[in-house]
Amino acid sequence: MERPTGLPVACPLPLTDHPHIMLAHGGGGRLMHQLIERVFLPAFRNPALDQRHDGAVVMVDGLRLAFTTDSYVVQPLFFPGGDIGTLAINGTVNDLAMCGARPRWLSAGFILEEGLPTDTLARIVTSMQAAATAAGVQLVTGDTKVVDKGKGDGLFVNTAGLGLIEHEQRIGPDQVQPGDVVLLNGDVGRHGMAILSVREGLQFESPILSDCAPLAGPVLALLEAGVRVHCLRDLTRGGLATALNEIAAAARVQIDIEEAAVPVIEPVRGACELLGLDPLYVANEGRFIAIVRATDQDRALELLQAHRLGEPPALIGRVTAGQPGLVTLTSRVGARRVLDMLSGEQLPRIC
């Protein structure tokens, strides 16, 4: 790769184009994918990892298990609609659900910063317990470390999870086919805007609550009813647009969606307009897309409606053979354009 500044490449192994880790490497966009592809995958390559899913599916004596892990570093620790504890349970539960698994057991690792009020930890643990009960999982093992003051941001949590796959369906991008429909289980953008509003001290007429919620219920309902689910993806970092791009690239299909079909509640739309952000890229913690066989769409929407979280579920688009990896969006005024993946996090525009 040519470098604009003519600087010599110092590292014999050009791991990435950046000599230092940037925040954008964790933003869920293109830079994070570069990191995964150039650093992690070459080092750890194996068939389970190569599935490139939110969790791995492994076989043990004829049992199919889903296994995943996720770390939580959110600031602030408490936000409207949840806290780092609810996030740490639901995030990992949802990664398992996206493998089509029934979440069963979780681990929790705490990295605490010296000086953290014990009461804060207790509140977070209480909400983790409540979230675990609601999601039907048990916390069966854990670890605690304390780091010097200034070496952590109050509290970080890592959770890992195990789930059981109780059906014969294969779920993943390789199952996606032209003709499939893209279903979304509710409105997008709440979690990211809830966090941003607290972080930036922005006040809106009606506070925006995080959509943080366990998703195993609606997913298992689809699977148990025999809906042919080809792919599932929760819409966390990078939001809906990133998830669609990842699937289109991995499945080598084109996905066309309708902007007007994607539900976004008024306060989120307003906040996004104000800050120059696009809700399609904003993080969610209780939303997912299910790419299902077109003939199952009505039944699937009914089931999602029965497990409704927020605005009604919607059919937002279709899979076509088209151009592999391309995601297009038909705008509100009826013109079609590319819906791209971001390089890092969305940046607020100037004016």
């Binding site: 790769m1 040519e2 604009p4 500044t5 600087l7 184009d17 950046h18 230092h20 880790i21 940037m22 925040l23 954008a24 293109r30 830079l31 570069q34 930036e200 922005l202 008024e266 739309r269 307003g270 307009e273 800050l275 120059g276 151009q323 391309l326 297009t328 705008s331 509100r332 005024v333 009826g334 013109a335 079609r336 354009r337 590319v338 791209d340 971001l342 390089s343 890092g344 940046l347 607020p348 525009r349 100037i350 004016c351």
Partner: protein, 374 residues
């Protein structure tokens, strides 16, 4: 959502497009000056609704894009100092200087923060009396009043640890530079609605007369832009060259006079370098002598720093409407949002970034020779 949905109505958009097709008898080239309009045009795909021959070219109205590379280098130099809290609007952080960008400064320990208002930076200066707080004041006439207010507030509070790195630019001199260029293709302008909210549009009237060019003050929603284009094409077809106001719900002829007074009080008109274009006389704002103590270039001794731009980047031609982003050989290959050669690939208002995000299907056809319709 109220006040936006009304201006995104699909049926009305189609009606405006049909009206435009009826009045258009030959090709016209129209420049939308503001980057916010460029963003809306590609985001909503408005260029696809235009009749054949009506071509939009994207103007120099993205403040991030026209900030010269040496100013980015100055920002980086200041931001890397341990005593500094460097505050900026978000999209400036990824603009490449000659060696690195502000995000890299942050990754290497610099205290670089995204703020939403210059007054937030003043608050930071109050809260951190032991640190130097610097605000990167970029933008057109739109952001100048708020920046002027921040300086005034810092002055009233007697803050000794607040300063501004000022890179303000003005729209009318840039329009004149484009119109005077021998390469000029622009026959009509959509003037930037938000700039005119502050400044009004009396200063465009002599430009319309002198260069025989219609100028339509235009808003940012899809229907605003389509109506602005329609008004501009109607003028061109009828041989008129007037200043018209499409954005009447926000813009008055004389603008916001108290805001203008504030700008005149705190700033003075200065020559300014535009990235990719070069120096344009009387095209920028700098701090007035009475407020020179808040000038970060002086405070940190970086006023003499100079820098050269990437030779490969054609952003100057793009900002003048001579070339389209996908006509650049580096577009989407050596120049991407992760590794931008020029600022037009950085900001979401930059024409190259907008094409990269929304129009790569056009770009996939490869660089084209003749100017293609948007």
């Amino acid at each position: 959502m109220k006040f936006t949905d009304e201006y995104r109505d699909q049926r009305l958009a189609k009606e405006l497009a049909a009206a435009l097709a009826r009045v258009t008898t030959r090709p016209w080239t129209i420049m939308e000056v503001c980057g916010g309009q460029t963003h809306a045009i590609v985001k909503f795909g408005l260029d696809q609704l235009l009749p054949p021959g009506v071509e939009l070219v994207h103007g120099p109205g993205c403040p991030v894009c026209v900030t010269p590379v040496e100013l980015i280098d100055k920002a980086i130099e200041i931001a890397a100092r341990p005593e500094v809290i460097f505050c900026s609007f978000g999209d400036m952080l990824r603009v490449p200087g000659t060696q690195r960008d502000l995000f890299s400064v942050k990754a290497q320990g610099g205290d670089v923060r995204i703020v939403y208002s210059p007054l937030d930076a003043v608050q930071l200066a109050r809260r951190h009396p032991d640190r130097q707080v610097v605000f990167f004041a970029v933008g057109f006439e739109t952001t100048a009043p708020a920046n002027a207010l921040a300086v005034l507030q810092a002055h009233r509070l007697g803050l000794k640890n607040f300063s501004m790195l000022v890179s303000h630019v003005l729209v009318p001199p840039a329009m004149e530079a484009i119109l005077s260029s021998p390469n000029n293709r622009v026959q009509g302008f959509l003037a930037a609605g938000h700039v005119c909210t502050v400044m009004g549009y009396t200063e465009y009237e002599p430009i319309a007369r002198r260069y025989r060019v219609p100028i339509v003050v235009t808003g940012f929603e899809p229907l605003d832009i389509l109506q602005g284009i329609l008004m501009c094409v109607e003028q061109l077809e009828q041989g008129r060259a007037e200043v018209q106001n499409q954005y009447a719900r926000a813009v008055r002829r004389r603008g916001n006079e108290p805001a203008q007074e504030l700008i005149r009080h705190v700033f003075q008109v200065v020559p300014r370098k535009w990235r990719g274009v070069g120096e344009i006389p009387q095209s920028g704002l700098g701090l007035a002598p009475a407020y020179a103590e808040f000038d970060a270039e002086r405070r940190f001794g970086v006023a003499t720093l100079t820098a050269e731009e990437s030779a490969e980047c054609i952003s100057g031609l793009i900002l003048q409407g001579v070339k389209k982003p996908h006509q650049c050989p580096a577009f989407a290959t050596r120049c991407t949002p992760e590794h931008p050669l020029g600022a037009t690939m950085v900001s979401s208002e930059g024409a190259c970034a907008a094409y990269y995000r929304y129009r790569r299907d056009v770009a996939a056809a490869g660089p084209v020779q003749a100017p293609a319709k948007g």
